[in-house]
């Protein structure tokens, strides 16, 4: 070796005991789907089949809803709030104990780097359970209204970008507030949810309190329309979210939605530029850009555009793309072929609409789904890549001249999930934050998450919040 190259440092997969086939988790047990239909889940980094997973038929979903209903009536609503909390504490602890196993499995099923599953997804998932465990017997202090009551059975549909973490965001508050759950994981990433079912068994969670039905969009739609559920929580695309809102418009079901975004990341000329560049990188390349709150629109003050762009490019050339199980990998695999095609389609539209594409030199693995870290400069507000969510490692760079213009451009979108502000001037941070129409604003940081911090969108980015005491409101009924 004549230069300092990092040798491969793969995390061992021996910690994961992959089964060849996974059943549905209904009423505390793994059961085969009626009719025996299955689908496969693959490792997107090499396209190898990981396992066969049960495809829940409608009658399986019915069973899950019945189990949840029975558990709500007979067990969970009779469990005291503090005892509910103790189950959640147990779950948090077991998640911590089995963290490495979850991290490896998540990386295999999702394609995201082990560094992120190990340092972010799994610890945060455990933290969500720990945090919400403490709320279970303190709901009257949560300020969500007087005499808060659970809805009953909650149907939860989660996405593939943070499979276990999104499960935690949904399941922890639902159980803490006394609801029971039927959860449908994403079609391409069901495995950590099924491993989580084992955690619930180890924790002794009463049967039927959490049920997991694996399947695809049709399974989710059936769950949404099921008359036996009282509340739906969905995280996913804006298009599907609107569809759910329509589907339940004639019912009394409650609904919370965490949908898409096109977050503006505003770099003022007085920013801490090196840290801002890190924030840009984290904003768009964290989790391959499969992040609803990604800072996918970079708004740079024109006076520092060259400096920021140069530093960004230099930094991007250090991004290590490849085997997600390698501890040094920064950017892993795109989660699915379909998603990869969507990213290509939008990036190509950037080319054809006249923006300039740049990616660092980097070798992509042969098998699997990969996309180089990419920036587009010279992007106009009217370009598709400035308006549509790409959900991939693709950043659109726009410029502004004055703070007013930055706000105008940042808010000029039907989305309203996240935004970033980079400046050393405190009053400018507050001025900007006050005017941005976004549910989460990161000032001089980006893509930070915490169970105590409410997360959710303005406008078409969603309904309601997850996390913090505000997130509890979604899971209780109060007089209004």
């Amino acid at each position: 070796m004549t230069k300092f190259e990092y040798a491969p440092a793969p995390e061992s997969t021996s910690i994961v005991d992959l089964k060849s086939e996974y059943g549905l988790f209904i009423n505390g047990k793994f059961v085969a789907p009626k009719g025996g239909k299955t689908f496969v889940t693959i490792n997107p980094a090499n396209e190898k089949i990981l396992a066969k997973v049960a495809y829940a038929s409608n009658s399986d979903v019915d069973k899950a809803v019945i189990a949840a209903t029975e558990a709500f009536k007979k067990t969970w609503s009779r469990t005291s709030p503090s005892e509910r909390g103790k189950y959640l504490y147990r779950i948090a602890r077991i998640l911590q104990e089995r963290a490495r196993e979850f991290a490896v499995l998540e990386t295999m099923d999702n394609g995201k780097p082990i560094r992120e599953t190990r340092d972010i997804d799994i610890p945060l998932a455990a933290a969500h359970f720990f945090y919400h465990a403490g709320w279970a017997d303190k709901l009257e202090f949560a300020g969500v209204g007087s005499n808060p009551k659970p809805h009953g059975v909650v149907g939860q549909i989660i996405p593939w970008n943070f499979p276990l973490l999104m499960l935690a965001w949904k399941v922890a508050p639902a159980l803490a507030t006394g609801n029971t759950v039927v959860l449908k994981p994403a079609e391409t990433t069901p495995l950590t949810a099924l491993l989580f079912a084992e955690v619930c068994q180890q924790a002794g969670l009463p049967a039927g309190v959490l049920n997991i039905v694996t399947g695809d969009g049709a399974t989710g739609a059936y769950l949404v329309n099921h008359p036996g559920i009282q509340k739906i929580a969905f995280t996913g695309s804006t298009q599907v979210g609107k569809g759910i809102a329509r589907a339940i418009s004639g019912t009394s079901k409650a609904l919370t939605l965490e949908l898409g975004g096109k977050g503006a990341n505003i770099i003022y000329d007085d920013a801490a530029i090196d840290e801002a560049v890190e924030g840009i990188i984290s904003g768009i390349f964290f989790n391959q850009g499969h992040v609803c709150c990604a800072g996918s629109r970079l708004l740079v003050q024109e006076s520092v555009l060259d400096e920021v762009t140069e530093k960004l490019k230099r930094r991007m050339s250090l991004i290590r793309v490849g085997d997600p199980l390698d501890k040094n990998t920064d950017l892993g695999a795109i989660n699915s072929k379909a998603q990869l095609e969507k990213i290509h389609e939008l990036a190509n539209s950037g080319d054809s609409e006249g923006a300039q594409r740049w990616s660092p030199e980097c070798e992509l693995p042969g098998a699997g789904f990969w996309f180089k870290p990419t920036i587009f400069s010279g992007v106009a507000q009217s370009h598709r890549i400035a308006r549509e969510e790409i959900f991939g490692p693709v950043l659109s760079i726009l410029t502004f001249r004055t703070p007013q213009e930055a706000i105008e451009k940042a808010n000029n979108t039907p989305f309203g999930l996240s935004a970033g502000i980079w400046t050393d001037k405190g009053s400018k941070i507050l001025w900007t934050a006050q005017r941005l129409k976004a549910g989460v604003i990161w000032a001089n940081t980006f893509n930070k998450f915490d169970p105590a911090s409410p997360f959710g969108g303005y406008k078409e980015s969603g309904w309601g919040r997850e996390g913090g005491r505000h997130g509890l409101a979604a899971y209780v009924k109060v007089a209004k």
């Binding site: 070796m1 230069k3 300092f4 190259e5 990092y6 040798a7 491969p8 440092a9 560094r115 340092d119 007085d270 920013a271 801490a272 530029i273 090196d274 840290e275 890190e278 924030g279 250090l318 501890k327 040094n328 050393d424 001089n444 940081t445």
Partner: protein
């Protein structure tokens, strides 16, 4: 922006210009820079890259003794170690330099020469190390003594009192003065004592000021004050040399010193270099590590890599 030397001089024409320039430097966000350093510390360096890193780190060590109790015997032993870190393995490279107080320079130089260590320079700490609290005349004499005794490198301390009270011109002029004494004879390393400057903004300012004044290296600490060479401090200094290179075309080295005791610590530093200033800085010409205990840990790790079993301090020399 590439500046030629004339405009570099222009930036520090007088104290006002210097202050104005230092004010234009972007601020450093503490949480952000610490987050970046923490992320880089998760890099996993294994197998061939670890072998490479260990030997590189050995070549970068400024093997140091800076004690009131230093004696010729102690310094000579250190010199032996510097030239042949592992007497049982001749493939181990020699260290970057031997670093001593100025009254030990001639002893170190003579001993190194006598054992074939001609290419191991002696670095002398200077300008009333470690506090820097002395008259300029004393500081000048201190430096001259070291140079006369054969120091190839001068590790000067800045006047932190002057820096913290905003008398940047004074600090700048003093660095320039010492640099002029060093001339072509010796490399100048400028020690900030970052533990006393406290903020990363100060570290960045001090870095640019020292580089503008002609420093060949910027160095974190004396080793007498904690915290010393923490990864984020080194990261800020590496950013500074990187940006100064882009700005002027001149490459300035970085020397963390203090608190780097294990191979793991040293490899973290190399990762910082690799992913901040870039691979050109991965050379003893541009990166040194001021240390004493570190060397033995590097040697023990080297044995582990070679023999496949964990070593013991019985198999490295305690000097």
């Amino acid at each position: 922006m590439l500046l030629n030397s004339v405009s570099v001089d222009e930036l520090a024409r007088d104290e006002e210009s210097l202050k104005r320039f230092l004010r234009t430097l972007p601020p450093v966000d503490q949480v952000g820079v610490e987050g970046r350093a923490a992320m880089l510390s998760t890099r996993s360096i294994k197998n061939a890259s670890k072998n490479f890193a260990i030997d590189l780190a050995i070549r970068m060590v400024d093997l140091t003794t800076l004690e009131g109790a230093d004696t010729p015997g102690k310094v000579k032993a250190l010199c032996n170690k510097a030239v042949r870190p592992d007497p049982t393995d001749s493939t181990v490279p020699h260290v970057g330099a031997v670093c001593v107080y100025n009254d030990m320079v001639s002893i170190a130089r003579a001993h190194l020469d006598s054992i074939g260590g001609h290419d191991v320079p002696v670095a002398a700490v200077s300008t009333a190390f470690p506090s820097g609290r002395a008259s300029q005349a004393v500081k000048i004499q201190d430096t001259k003594d070291a140079l006369d005794a054969g120091a190839g490198e001068i590790d000067m301390v800045i006047d932190r009192g002057a820096f913290l009270s905003g008398r940047y011109g004074e600090v700048f002029d003093e660095i320039k003065l010492i640099k002029s004494l060093c001339g072509e004879k010796a490399h100048l390393k400028v020690i900030f004592e970052t533990g006393e400057l406290v903020t990363y903004d100060n570290v960045r300012k001090a870095s640019f000021m020292a580089m503008l004044a002609g420093a060949d290296f910027i160095k974190t600490s004396t080793g007498k004050v904690a915290p010393a060479a923490t990864p984020p401090v080194v990261l800020v200094m590496l950013e500074a040399v990187r940006d100064f290179h882009i700005m002027t075309g001149r490459k300035v080295g970085v020397k963390p010193a203090g608190g780097i005791r294990t191979t793991k610590d040293a490899i973290k530093q190399l990762v910082l270099v690799n992913e901040t200033a870039g691979e050109e800085w991965l050379s003893p010409n541009l990166f040194r590590i001021g240390a004493s205990a570190l060397l033995n840990d590097l040697l023990m790790q080297r044995m582990k890599m070679r023999d496949g079993r964990y070593s013991s301090s019985n198999y490295v020399t305690l000097d």
